[in-house]
Symmetry: C2
Subunit: 484 residues, 2 copies
């Protein structure tokens, strides 16, 4: 039973939902709410406390995100116990287990705006589990060694899907399935000529893989149309890694004329120049017109290697990525990797094949698009309301993150903004961290907010807290800066 | 209903079970035995045909291996239809789908003696499916991004298992989980110094990965005690890839004094020499005393990188391998791969963790050992009976393959023996194919027979057919060779 020992105070500095959150955490820690206890319904608690249902909802969602509560469909919220297991993407508060390597120290994380986050509640776990279980029971043949390039059924399904939805032109023979973009890129790199160009700012993982493969990387600037082809031409690179659907991290979509320019750059040296098109996030396009992939414009024997993954469209924990190789690279691939085994379990591959063929994948994407678009709208509205003219938003139209640019003359260094947010329980990154040269290459004050894993009910409180936190950090910075 | 239109002929050249097999294939192809039809029980058919139950069993097993029949536990054999789906590890006879890249053309494969085969009927599919389904339903947090080095729970479970069963000395922090030995080896190679030594004969996949990583490979000969340390010392290599538990493919187990020598070789240049211990197949030791791993002898900060996989102990279709890094390599690993994502799905990793922690893994291994030992015995007995003094066997005591060395003065080239076997429906490899220098480096006539995927009931017919086929190939060769 829930005792609200601390009455909520509407006049207090902390918002009501936060007071409620802290009060419930205290009860759980004190053992007053034991593991397994059912929490009061949102409406009845809201009535009992004379607060809005949204306030209760926000508090419950925060508690669930941190693992204090678990939500059961059509049943409500239940206490998970303390120390709590971490929720998806959340750090465990005071959990005894060692944190993952990438976890940062600091106060409990309440809002995780990492760009890799997705809404795991959208994942059709029952369908996936049913398909996989059926395969485990009926297809013992999948326990044996499979085709190293991936299950033929999955490559067939992916080729059909990519042709229909991304305009990719390939046969299943050109597809290679692998355990993640980084892995596929590390296999691809040695087959390609010369130095590589990467976007600046850009995806640091791709750069690390290319550099680890002994490929020097040249940083080519990005503008509102994506990678600058003029700068690419001047760079002397023979290979260009690019994210035309949703430039990472600026969110720019490369317009058709720029795509044609890029292909013309590659066409100047047939066989001597290649484009690596990373089409991550292309499934989530909210208000822009669809553009075919670069690969589709170039054709099956064009100079484009197409790369994508289900890490965003399904979940990061499912490690399946795929690559479409230009036909002329297949013999070299076969020579170099003739003995390599596949890297994705055959049951998972066949599950995904059936998931695509059964129409579940496109239904899941359609549903996800609606949810993410509503969340994007809610977040944009909340940020506009909380920041007003103090910030400008960009990169809104595709993908699962957006950019927030603080307006002002004397902004503190990005590291201070990121640290202040982290102190307030908000994990985010600065745009400057995606520049090879770091903060020196980029004016301060632009933050990257990933909303894939953010709960709708938390958009408003997040915006409010983030605005207050950043405003305070800016004020402190200008107060302590010499000469002001 | 089964019409045996061709009466079996005990005086014919082909053995009875083969006549029965061909007769049933004809009936299925002709439609006389439609898909779903239940086959007569083995005993009743044996009685009706006046043959032994073993004859019927052998024919049914061959039909099942090729996908004509399916076996249902406690119910019997049912017709699967035609064209048949291929059974585990078998090629589809006349199947319309494109064969996997590694499939060889030729008559239907009836005996697959590839070294990668395992008995997939031993895989505890129900337990695995139950554990995975539970996780899919209850742990949505696993959909989010995980620790790139592998799930902490799995690394903990593996560290405990390896300490108990393989004498490995490590903390979970030293373990890296990855999608296959080749992948882990390709990440490891750039962290190690100088040229690499590989065993001759040896595992071609490891050599290909090391060479693809820009590491020149020096072939070091293998004798009955495994890799020659004297030859290693003379090779100038700084890194040595070795399979001490079960040398691939000779099957030699490296004795303790040789292990000490090998460690002493590495100890001469601390930090400048490393040993990569591939402990594949070490779970299947039938009549030799257990020896601790090299890693265990050297300790957590010794010069040994320990590598293993569940491809043999569970199934090749499950892509989980793991590596124990010496503590002093961890910082370099972290620097180079700080941004790399994990390559094994989190649900699969957690399933394996629970499979190990719940004791299912060691029970499965114990059961598998009994089955494989009985099969090894049956095969050895059958080969001795069919070949007599015409062949000598070796590499019998560990792992899932053995070596058959033909005795004789004028043996044909290995390629001819392998092709003759393939024409007879038997897939096997020659020892010479595991030599870097190929057939020139190795006297002809030694064949590698993997029995992991072989049915017990087929050991006797296989031995008989193989002996007849090879004898014929040898006779033809000496008849056609000039001067004899």
């Amino acid at each position: 039973m829930l005792h609200l020992t601390t009455a909520l105070d509407p006049a207090a500095k902390a918002p009501l939902y936060q007071q409620l959150y802290h009060s419930i955490v205290q009860e759980i820690r004190a053992g007053a709410l034991p593991a397994g206890a059912r929490m009061p319904g949102k409406r009845s608690l809201a009535e009992a406390l004379s607060v809005s249902v949204n306030t209760v909802d926000a508090a419950y969602q925060m508690l669930a995100a941190e693992g204090y509560l678990a939500s059961r469909p059509r049943s409500g919220f239940y206490v998970e116990g303390y120390p709590a297991r971490p929720g998806p993407g959340a750090e465990a508060p005071d959990a005894p287990a060692a944190p993952p390597a990438q976890a940062q120290a600091g106060p409990p994380l309440r809002y995780d705006l990492s760009t890799s986050g997705v809404d795991t509640r959208l994942f059709p776990a029952r369908t996936w589990a049913r398909l996989e279980k059926e395969l485990l029971y009926t297809s013992p043949g999948l326990l044996a060694r499979g085709d190293p390039r991936g299950e033929p059924e999955l490559r067939q399904a992916l080729a059909a899907y990519l042709a229909e939805y991304r305009g990719v032109r390939c046969t299943p023979e050109q597809l290679v399935v692998g355990a993640g973009i980084e892995y596929l890129l590390s296999l691809l790199a040695p087959l390609l000529p010369g130095p590589a160009a990467v976007e600046e700012p850009g995806y640091p993982r791709a750069r690390q893989v290319l550099e680890n493969s002994g490929r020097p990387c040249r940083a080519v600037p990005v503008d509102e149309g994506g990678l600058s082809v003029a700068a690419l031409a001047a760079s002397g690179a023979a290979v260009c890694y690019v994210t035309p659907s949703h430039q990472f991290p600026t969110g720019a979509t490369m317009p058709a004329p720029r795509r044609a320019e890029l292909l013309a750059w590659a066409a100047q040296r047939p066989g001597g120049r290649y484009i690596i098109e990373d089409d991550y996030d292309s499934e989530f396009r909210f208000d822009t017109r669809p553009l075919p992939s670069l690969q589709g414009m170039a054709g099956a024997e064009g100079p484009v290697v197409y790369l994508s993954t289900v890490a965003r469209s399904l979940a990061p924990g499912i490690r399946i990525a795929y690559m479409v190789l230009p036909a002329q690279l297949l013999p070299a691939w076969q020579r170099r990797y003739s003995l390599y085994s596949g890297t994705v379990g055959r049951f998972e591959q066949q599950t995904l094949a059936r998931f695509i063929e059964g129409g579940y994948f496109t239904r899941h994407l359609a549903r996800s698009r609606v949810v993410y678009k509503a969340r994007r709208n809610a977040l944009v509205k909340a940020l506009a309301a909380s920041f007003g003219p103090a910030a400008a938003l960009s990169g809104l139209h595709t993908g699962l993150h957006l950019l927030l640019r603080l307006q002002g003359q004397s902004l503190p260094p990005d590291a201070r903004l990121v640290a202040a947010a982290r102190q307030a329980g908000i994990r985010l990154t600065a745009l400057s961290s995606y520049y090879r040269e770091g903060p020196a290459a980029c004016p301060p004050g632009t933050l990257v907010l990933g909303y894939g894993a953010l709960d709708d009910a938390l958009c408003a409180p997040l915006a409010e807290e983030l605005a207050a936190t950043l405003k305070k950090a800016c004020t402190e910075a200008s107060a302590s800066s010499p000469g002001t």
